[in-house]
Each structure stands twice: as C-alpha cells, then as structure tokens.
C-alpha cells in the first residue's frame, strides 16, 4: 500500500442544548454523528458521480437531488451547481449505489483497510 493514509474526521459543531423540552425536532448536525466514528480515508474517492449534468437537469427537478436526501452520512451536497462528494465520511451502506434514480454513481468499496471501521457495529 503506497497511499499516505490520513485519519480524517469531520469537525464537530458547537454543542447543542442538552435536553429539548418537547417532541419537536432539533436540527440534526450530521457532523456530530460522524465525529463519533473512526475512519481511514484514502486519497481518492471510491464514489464518483458519473454525469453531473444528469443531477443538474433531471434529478434536481424530479427528486430534489435524491442522494442529498437519503445518504445517511450526507456525503452528497448540492453546492455551486454541482453535487460534491465528501467520501471521507462514507458509511459504506450502499444506499447511493441502489438509490440513485439514474444509476449515476459509480460505487466501489474503499480499498482494503480504508474507510470506516466500526467499534460496536
């Protein structure tokens, strides 16, 4: 293995109020959840959006950018007219592989030893 491995973690956000008074939903900071996990991020992404044009012209209108909704790690964000891929926080669930309405995501497992490592599972 030649790639320089860097353990990366998204930075946690500011602490939130500890106890909400009622059942109304606080805005969830996904970074706070991802911060709990352990990763070894590879240098290159194992997730590739194949044709950004499809996201922009077709998915946006009909699905409000599907991957930005269902991805449990918010790997995908729509920013500046394109989908950005923050693969470092990927939980490797495969939701985008099967869930992209246009099969527009090229999906690989991270290379052996890279990616998320669950302590509890």
């Amino acid at each position: 293995m030649t790639a320089v491995a860097a353990a990366t973690r998204p930075a946690p956000s500011e602490p939130q109020a500890a106890e909400g008074p009622g059942p109304e939903v606080k805005e969830v900071k996904i970074e706070d959840k991802l911060y709990l996990n352990r990763w070894l991020a590879d240098e290159e992404s194992h997730l590739i959006v194949m044709d950004q044009g499809i996201c922009l012209t077709r998915c946006g209108e009909s699905h409000s950018y599907a991957c930005t909704i269902f991805c449990p790690a918010s790997v995908y964000k729509f920013e500046g007219n394109m989908i950005s891929v923050m693969y470092e926080g990927c939980l490797e669930c495969g939701a985008c592989r099967l869930g992209c309405p246009y099969r527009n995501i090229e999906w690989h497992f991270p290379r052996g030893g890279y990616g998320v490592t669950y302590k509890f599972g």
Binding site: E19, G20, G22, P23, E24, V25, K26, V28, I30, D32, K33, L34, L36, N37, H63, S64, A66, I69, F70, P72, A73, S74, L91, E92, C93, G94, A95, R97, L98, G99, P101, W107, H108, F109, P110, R111, G112, G113, G115, V116, T117, Y118, K119, F120, G121
Partner: protein, 467 residues
C-alpha cells in the same frame, strides 16, 4: 515463521492461530495453499464464517477474504442474534461468545405524533433460560470478530484488508477471485459469495440482479452508552435480562419501516430502518427520522443523558422469497444477505446467514468428497435450504412484502388511529360508552373506509401470512 498469502506476510502460525499442526504448517501447508484452495469465502460476516468453519472442520482448505481491518469492522445489524443456529455449530455453547444481554422481553410500540404510545409486549420465562438463551443482543463488530476467529481456529485462513473485485471465470464456471492486491488472483474449486447485501460480485457476474430501491431498507443506528444500572432501571430489567422494542407509526414519520431500541450490557442500540425509496419520496433524511424518534415522549427518557458512541448505516434486503436468486451454480454458492435471506417479519437475518453458511459448507464438503463442484453437485445446497426453515418460512411469507407495501397505512395512519381509539375509549369524561362507540364507528369509517374495508384487509392479511 509465517507464510505469504496474496503477497501479505502472515503472522507466524502457532497452535493458537491454526488447527493445522504447527509442524505441518511450517512444512509449507500455507505456502502450498497460497496457489490454490478448495474453497474461497468472500466476506467474514456470520454467513461467511459459518461456511468457513463448517468446511475447515471437515478438512477443506479454506481462504476467507475480508475487506475490513478485521472481521466485523464493516458490519452492522439491529442487533438481535437468535442463538439456535449458532448452537447448531457449537453444541457445547462457548463461554466466550461476545453477546450483550439475553432477550427476555420483546415489545412493540405504536407511536403517534401527539406523543401517545400503544404498547404490547411479552416477557417469557423460557427466554430467561440459558445459556444459550433464545436470543441475545449483540454488537456485530465484536461478534463477527469472535466468530471469524473460531473459523480460523478450525483451520481456515483469514486475510483481511482485502477487497475482492471480481470473480474469475472459465466459461460459465467460477474458478477463483481477483482481489485488489497486486498479483491478487486466487483460485479455488468453489467460491462462496458472502459479501453481503452490497455484493458487487453477484450482479457483476450476472448471478443476480441489483435490487431496486423499493426492495431494500436503509437502516441507521446509534450506540448510546449509559450506566448499567440506569439501563436496568429504565427498562425494568434485572442483571442478565434484556429488552427489545420495535416501534412503528410516528417512529418512521410515514416512511415504510420500523424503529428499534435494544438493550446491550452498557449501551443501547437505537435505530430506524425504512424502504430506501421512501426517503426520497417523503423528502426525509434518515438521521432526522432517527432524531425524531429519539425525541418522542415515550422514547426520550430512555436515552436521556446517554452518550452517543457510534453512528452506523446499513442496507437490508427485504424482497423476500420473490426476490431470491438462484443460490448455486458452477463453482459458486451464495449465502446470507448476498442471496437476500432475511425474514423481515420475524426480524431474522444473521441466524439465516449462519444456517445458510453451514448448509453451503456441508454441500462443499460433499462436493469435495465426490470431486464434483458443478452446478449439479452444488444444487445440494439449494435442496438443503429448501428443506430447512429458511426457505419454508420465506416461501410461506412470499406475499407479505407486497401486502405490506400495498397497505402502508398499517405503518403510518393506523398506529395513530389505534392510539386515538384507545385514548378515547379509556378517557373518563362524562360521555356515555354508547357515544364513544358511535365516535369509534365514525373514525373507522373515515380512516379505513368502514367495516367492509377492515374485513377485506383482514382477509388479505390472512392470505399473505397464513395461507
């Protein structure tokens, strides 16, 4: 003194790491095995390790390839493990199985948006007997690591941090695997696909189609750490008891799925899982639904003050019998989640994985005795699967996924209706029972479409579940 497998230096072989006698290993058992194995297992989850263990015990030369740092590093489930299928592999229940708590009480909660909850549950004296107890909560990272080590101890060779990228074929026959390592081709008489719900190998080789987003559930889960006494107090448990709670209705905010809360020894597993297509349809993010459930008045006191320790996500194949692929062919077998062996209704998955792994392993042992790894010989695995409770149960429930999909109201509006009905009937407010009955009839007519519709629903449910 170690061996080389896939260009990796293996740790020295000792009595504790291999059942193959050390002397034999040093004479080159490992090196000989480098070129060629009887069987390769892709993935060291419960299915893969059960297969590897079964084969290794019968003297089959097995290589297990796992992409994680260690077996279990990538694996997630709710997590209840039914012990019987593990006990079938270990008649003397091992003392060191890393289980959390026996499941002595199971509950189902129907939540509504207003903060109400209708609870049904059962505490069984028999579930308290063990070990092995009927079911345990487990943490897969720990369990899978232990289980893979048992396969290793039986003589299987486990190589981690290695991704299998392709099946190697000669004509239609699977003859080995291509790994991501340099010079990473390995050959075997048979390859067992235990690479899970996200198997890239099976669809790529045309062995099964990709599952559509309507046929898989996406689950997210948190581990929330709490002191043991707090868990036992909040869940009304004694030492050595555990509870599972399944939550429907407002728990998943209208998506077709369920939430769950399971007690571990010093933590709680809490999650939600819904059909993948629904998140987009309802424009809801999985972790927002998770937080919504945590904030419900029936739930929030259970986890209050707990420290989240890990956040996970995983897919569940929920197509059932109608989505099952052919699980065997020339030189390959498919086990566990890879084949979609999940009984959603009974929350069974890892136990089906283990049993299917065992049955696949037995089929390979027989195939090796006859020297025949053709599709015809390996069909024996499918026959065993069909004779077992696995396919019998999945077949019995073959209409259930479609039935539930057609009647999402069972998971969305009906739990709320039931809460309203129970609240109204048991509220003492000076209205006569007769008045309340009239109200009830009106509610049922409005929500269900009258008693005829309810009867029709009952009949359809009977057809889906019973007939």
């Amino acid at each position: 003194m170690g061996g080389k497998v896939l260009g990796l230096n293996c740790p020295p072989v000792t009595e504790s790491t291999s059942r193959v006698p050390v002397a034999e290993a040093r004479r080159g058992y490992l090196r000989m095995a480098v070129e060629r194995y009887d069987a390769i297992v892709v993935g060291a989850g419960p299915a893969g390790s059960a297969a590897a263990l079964t084969m290794a015990r019968a003297g089959v030369k097995v290589l297990v390839i796992e992409r994680g740092d260690f077996a279990g590093a990538k694996n997630v489930m709710g997590g209840v493990l039914y012990s019987r299928q593990l006990a079938d592999l270990f008649p003397a229940w091992p003392k060191d199985v890393p289980v959390e708590r026996p499941v002595t009480r199971q509950e189902m909660w129907l939540l509504d948006e207003s903060g109400s909850a209708l609870r049904v549950g059962h505490q069984s004296a028999r579930w308290g007997e063990g070990p092995p107890h009927m079911a345990y909560t487990v943490l897969r990272s720990r369990f899978d690591r232990w289980f893979a080590a048992q396969a290793e101890a039986a003589g299987a060779l486990l190589v981690t941090e290695t991704v299998v990228e392709d099946l190697l074929k000669e004509g239609d026959r699977v003859v080995g695997v291509r790994t991501g390592r340099p010079d990473g081709d390995v050959f075997a008489d048979v390859v067992i696909l235990a690479d899970g719900v996200n198997s890239i190998l099976a669809p790529k080789a045309g062995l099964r189609p990709e599952w559509p987003p309507e046929k898989v559930a996406l689950a997210v889960k948190e581990i929330i750490v709490l002191p043991r006494e707090k868990i036992e107090d909040r869940f009304n448990l004694e030492d050595g008891q555990g509870a599972t709670i399944e939550l429907v209705g407002d728990a998943t905010r209208g998506t077709f799925g369920m939430g769950w809360i399971y007690t571990n020894r010093d933590s709680i597993s809490l999650g939600i899982g819904s059909i993948l297509a629904d998140f987009v349809k309802l424009q809801l993010k999985p972790y927002d639904i998770l937080e919504h459930m945590k904030a419900h008045p029936a739930v929030r006191k259970l986890v209050q003050g707990g420290e989240p320790k890990e956040y996970m996500a995983h897919l569940i194949p929920e197509g059932g019998f109608e989505s099952l692929p052919r699980v065997y062919g020339d030189g390959y077998l498919m086990v566990g989640d890879t084949a979609g062996l999940v009984n959603v209704i009974h929350r069974e998955g890892s136990n089906l994985a283990m049993k299917s792994g065992e049955l696949a392993g037995q089929a390979v042992v027989e195939a090796k005795e006859r020297g025949d790894f053709s599709s015809r010989a390996l069909r024996r695995y499918h026959e065993r699967l069909a004779e077992s409770f696995i396919l019998q149960d999945l077949k019995k429930y073959r209409r259930v996924p479609e039935f539930l999909n057609r009647h999402r109201e069972l998971f969305t509006t009906y739990p709320a209706l039931l809460n309203r009905v129970v609240t109204e009937l048991f509220t003492v407010d000076g209205k006569s029972i007769k008045e309340k009955e009239a109200w009830l009839v009106g509610e049922v007519r409005r929500e269900v479409g009258g008693w005829g519709s309810l009867a029709r629903l009952g009949w359809e449910a009977y057809r889906a579940f019973v007939r």
